[in-house]
């Protein structure tokens, strides 16, 4: 069946280092992906999105890479800060706009 999943459930990085969070998807027809950040006790917060006609998209300190050949998505966070500690979800937009979320990766930033 269709799924959007993450490779690692937890990731620990040193403050100032770059972080890379990975996501695999199985539906090759998927054409729109979003990364969300969820802090404890809060709803998911939009970070960045990418459409399937793109390989890369950059935001402020974040970059999303899409490899359609291997159906892989990654989120790169530059110069990771303590405020980046959260659970990160990739999500696929299905017809009608509903999101299919992966399991999530918990990012922990060590000072």
């Amino acid at each position: 069946g269709e799924s959007v999943g993450l490779h690692l459930p937890t990731l620990s990085v040193q403050e100032g280092d770059n972080s890379i969070i990975n996501c695999a998807y199985s539906n090759s027809a998927s054409d729109y992906f979003i990364w969300y950040k969820q802090e404890s006790g809060k709803g998911p917060q939009f970070i960045i999105d990418i459409r399937s006609n793109m390989d890369k998209r950059q935001g402020q300190r974040v970059t999303v890479l899409l490899n359609k050949t291997v159906k892989h998505l990654s989120l790169q966070i530059a110069a990771t800060q303590p405020g980046d500690s959260a659970v990160y979800f990739c999500a696929e937009i299905k017809q009608g706009g509903k999101l299919i979320f992966g399991q999530g990766t918990e990012l922990s930033v060590k000072p």
Binding site: G43, P44, F46, D49, G97, K98, L99, F101
Partner: protein, 116 residues
């Protein structure tokens, strides 16, 4: 401007009772979504409203779950005869769904439901 709001923030109920969860979307957003998030898990789609169209109820786990939306405003998610497995955070999101928009969904803080 104001974001998506949800109430109550926490709800503790006894097994078998009915509960109502409320969502106030961002003003002007035509689309509204409900999701369920179990502890340590991703979000599960429940139901989707878009304008005056028939809602997409494909994610509702059982007939104990229902939701209503009045126009393009408030939505209520109702869970009847609650079970312990209903314990989760229930999240609401809204989006503008305008032509050409990216349909970014903005989430509320969620309602944490605990069924004893």
């Amino acid at each position: 401007g104001a974001g998506v709001s949800q109430s109550p923030s926490n709800k503790v109920t006894e097994k078998g009772k009915d509960v109502e969860l409320r969502c106030d979307p961002i003003s002007g957003h035509t689309a509204l979504y409900w999701y369920r998030q179990r502890l340590g898990q991703g979000l599960e789609f429940l139901i989707y409203f878009q304008g005056n169209s028939a809602p997409d109820k494909s994610g509702l786990p059982s007939d104990r779950f229902s939701a209503e939306r009045t126009g393009e405003s408030v939505s209520t998610l109702t869970i009847q005869r609650t079970q312990q497995e209903d314990s989760a955070v229930y999240l609401c999101a809204s989006s503008s769904r305008r032509a050409g928009s990216t349909d970014t969904q903005y989430f509320g803080p969620g309602t944490r439901l605990t069924v004893l």
